[in-house]
Amino acid sequence: MFAEIPLFPEQASTTAQRVDALFFFLCTVCGSMAILIAGLVLFFAFKYRRRAEDERTPRIMGNNRLEWFWTIAPLFVFLIMFLWGADIYTSVALPPPDAADVFVVGKQWMWKIQHPGGQREINELHIPVDRPVKLTLTSEDVIHDFFVPAFRTKIDVIPGRYVQTWFQPTKTGRYHLFCSQYCGTSHANMVGTVFVMERDEYRQWLGGQAATGSLADQGRQLFLKFQCITCHSANAEARAPILEGLFGRTVSLRNGRTVVADDAYLRESILYPEAKVVQGWEPIMPTFKGQANEEELIRLLAFIKSLKPGQTPVRNEEALPPLDAPKMPPGGNPKQHEAVPTYQPQGKSNEP
């Protein structure tokens, strides 16, 4: 065990390469600074050590030119560090348009993941290599943090709103997924594995998962179950706006402002319908807060996003019995133990 001390984490995403490049730049600059200062201190300490008790010293009070030099010179170096860091940060904040969607819900103490195809996993994330993946994350309880060291990806998962990040894996393999924002007793067990697979393998995996329809299909069922269709129907006497093609459009509101219909807006409108009412409509929608949980919201959103003109369900279409989430054993997904066998301490499963 002691033979191999890891010194550097695996570099498995495009972001990781960029972060590491900046990291090495910082190491070089700061390392030389540290060596310079340590060298000077040691050199002075040795050279000017006290040799006689009555030694005199020159009365040097300072040197303004030197002072201004070391006040201003670091600023230029810092400017480089700032710009470089900000560049990486903004690129991580803006997912490419072709990124594949993955939805993550954190709760004490597990990660629940949904794919657009309807596949669901717990504490595991399967993704294809060399393809950008966009994560939309939220939490059911406290603040968590989705951290994949090999991708240099980290983002706080905050209850009550969506946050987004993205990455593009460059190497197949298994990587750690950590919760890195302290979230209670089993914080250290809120971990999982990211599987980066070859495309074929990934397609196989997708096919092998039992999914009751795609995420949008599941959302469609909920759309019927929650009776959304009663008002948001496609016919003329509808009492609410038609949702076809809504996602991404700019919407005019009653108060004269406009808003882009993004995830956050749709989520808010389901939970707090009165907050931003569309122009020309009465605020009659009831809230679905407490009825739809975070995972169901994601499915509803997936459905609304997928809704093309003419696809609104017919109002009298019968609602299917509600989907049951697969029952979880209290210790989380048993598969998790197989994935990283040594990770789970004996007899300490993450009991909620």
Partner: protein, 552 residues
């Protein structure tokens, strides 16, 4: 009331009572009462010294169990809940009951009046009051931590602390809230003292840098602490009545708490490290027997840190869901605050140039400070870079970074200061050999403990983990081994300093040949500090002139 006063005649200060030879602040009165009701700043400093030392070792005990637990990846020593309570207790005790108060209340209390040639602080009773407030806060917090514990971490992030934690969150917050007022009163006392009570001739530009550092730290104490107090009240209100100020379920924003919390808790780091920097300026000049290099720049950098330190708090929240634009503002400002710290390090180094350097214990600690603080400061540049922070945030990289600043910086400086002024405070010298040994052990132990944590952090080991993947074990074991060495280094001074009280040889008024008013009076000083009011005619650190020009 004398008639002279009512007519508006202003009397001279009361003459100092004549002093029996050998009478000093320690032996002027004996008994518990004479300590518990004292208003003498020097005795209050001793009260604080005892209190914070006890608290330091309690916080250290928690750290010991944490490090022992992390020896194995499966965390076999304590269960997860206990572990969480331990790191919370460690953080809470060390931050609020050791690092924040330690230098201002012990060395600051003792030295601020002496260095400015005053008889006491501006508000002696408030000074005593602040010790009582501190002690009451500490007792409440300790009680909460021992009887049940608290598992929120020292950061109390909402909504975990306000809704989900089922531990003693409330009493802990009350204890911290109360002790906050002790901080405020201490800071207020220092600022008022330095503004109005300086000895004749001691202009602002002649003040020793130790005082400037305390001035800057006091500004932070006075202006940051109230915001923490309010943040804790709001969390308390939310927790007690279930109303949502930070609860997203009820329309609140949990991130707002982080803003308030870090508005205090980032500058608080400078409360810890600024006084320490002040000590280093005193020690480096004394033992290289040279004036400080660039007094004005060091002084302004202290003030600069106090102001700029308030502009950077959200760099603790780069991945916490704040706006991208705001993150960029805070990143840029964070780089600005690195400049004043760098100025100080350069100036201390330049002070050594052409000096006459004598390697006494305080200087060893000071050189240790410069080395470790430089490391801590430089790794701060990594964290201010948005791209890198994304990866290392909330990992052991952060843990290592802030321990370098707070322990490598603040505690190292405190040890240096304690060893420097110990002869003044007690009139006795400690063991030269043992103290140098302790300095060495602490330095080596520290490096061994926290250097591996940088590597762990970049590898991705998150903080506050009770168990961890097995590949991180070797580095964790190294860190724990270092911690055991560090522990020896911290216990050692306890013995030889205590021993010196009985067996140490008398120090005399000025064992180091230092300038500064505090060395112009006997050791230990008399109750009124100076037998005659000092008058100052030169700047500080006139080590390179023929004789002291301080006139009596």
């Amino acid at each position: 009331m004398s008639s002279a006063i009512t007519t508006g005649f202003v009397p001279q200060a009361k003459p100092r009572p004549p002093r029996a030879p050998g009478e000093n602040y320690l032996n002027v009165a004996i008994g518990v009462k004479s300590w518990l009701f004292t208003t003498d700043h020097k005795r209050i400093a001793i009260l604080y010294l005892v209190t914070v030392t006890i608290l330091f070792f309690l916080g250290g005990a928690a750290a010991t169990v944490i490090r022992l637990n992390l020896m194995t990846p499966t965390g076999d020593l304590v269960p997860a809940d206990t572990y969480n309570k331990l790191f919370s207790a460690h953080g809470i005790i060390m931050v609020w009951f050791f690092l924040v108060p330690v230098i201002p209340t012990v060395l600051g209390n003792f030295l601020v009046p002496m260095m400015i040639g005053a008889r006491d602080l501006a508000f002696p009773k408030i000074n005593l009051l602040s010790w009582y407030i501190f002690t009451i806060g500490a007792v409440i917090t300790l009680w909460a931590l021992i009887a049940g514990g608290v598992d929120t971490g020292w950061t109390f992030y909402t909504p975990f602390s306000s809704k989900y934690a089922r531990t003693n969150v409330m009493p802990t917050m009350i204890g911290i809230f109360i002790s906050g007022f002790s901080s405020i009163l201490t800071g207020l006392n220092f600022i008022a003292t330095m503004h109005t009570m300086r000895a004749p001739g001691l202009t602002w530009w002649r003040m020793p840098l130790f005082l400037w550092a305390h001035y800057a730290a006091s500004v932070i104490l006075v202006l940051a602490t109230p915001v923490l107090a309010m943040a804790l009240i709001l969390v308390g209100v939310e927790r007690a009545w279930g109303i949502g100020i930070f609860d997203p379920e009820l329309g609140g924003d949990p991130v707002l708490f982080q803003h308030l919390f870090w508005f205090y808790s980032h500058p608080v780091v400078y409360i810890m490290v600024l006084p320490s920097m002040g000590i280093i300026s005193e020690v480096v000049t004394c033992f290289s027997r040279k004036p400080i290099f660039g007094y004005v720049f060091i002084m302004w950098s202290s003030v600069g840190i106090a102001v700029l330190g308030f502009l950077v708090w959200a760099h603790h929240m780069f991945v916490a869901g704040q706006s991208v634009y705001s993150a960029m503002i805070f990143s840029a400002l964070s780089y600005l605050v690195a400049v004043p710290s760098a100025i100080k390090v350069f100036n201390w180094t330049a002070t050594l140039y052409k000096g006459s350097i004598s390697f006494e214990t305080p200087l060893l600690f000071a050189l240790g400070f410069i080395a470790l603080f430089t490391m801590g400061g430089l790794t701060g540049l990594f964290l201010a870079a948005l791209g890198v922070d994304m990866h290392v945030h909330d990992t052991y990289f952060i843990i290592a970074h802030f321990h370098f600043i707070m322990v490598g910086g603040s505690v190292m400086g405190y040890m240096g200061g304690l060893h420097y002024w110990w002869p003044k405070m007690t009139g006795r010298m400690y063991s030269d050999f043992l103290s140098k040994l302790a300095a060495l052990i602490i330095f080596v132990g520290f490096i061994l403990t926290f250097l591996p944590q940088f590597v762990l952090g970049y590898l991705g080991m998150p903080r506050r983990y009770h168990v961890y993947p097995p590949e991180f074990q070797v580095l964790n074991v190294m860190s724990s081994a270092g911690a055991s060495i560090l522990a020896v280094g911290y216990v050692l001074p306890l013995f030889y300093l205590f021993w010196s009280l009985y067996a140490g040889k008398p120090a005399g008024p000025n064992p180091w040949g230092a300038t500064g008013l505090e060395w112009q009076t006997p050791s230990p000083p008399p109750t009124h500090n100076f037998d005659e009011s000092p008058i100052v005619t030169t700047g500080p650190y006139e080590y390179s002139v023929e004789e002291s020009e301080i006139v009596h």
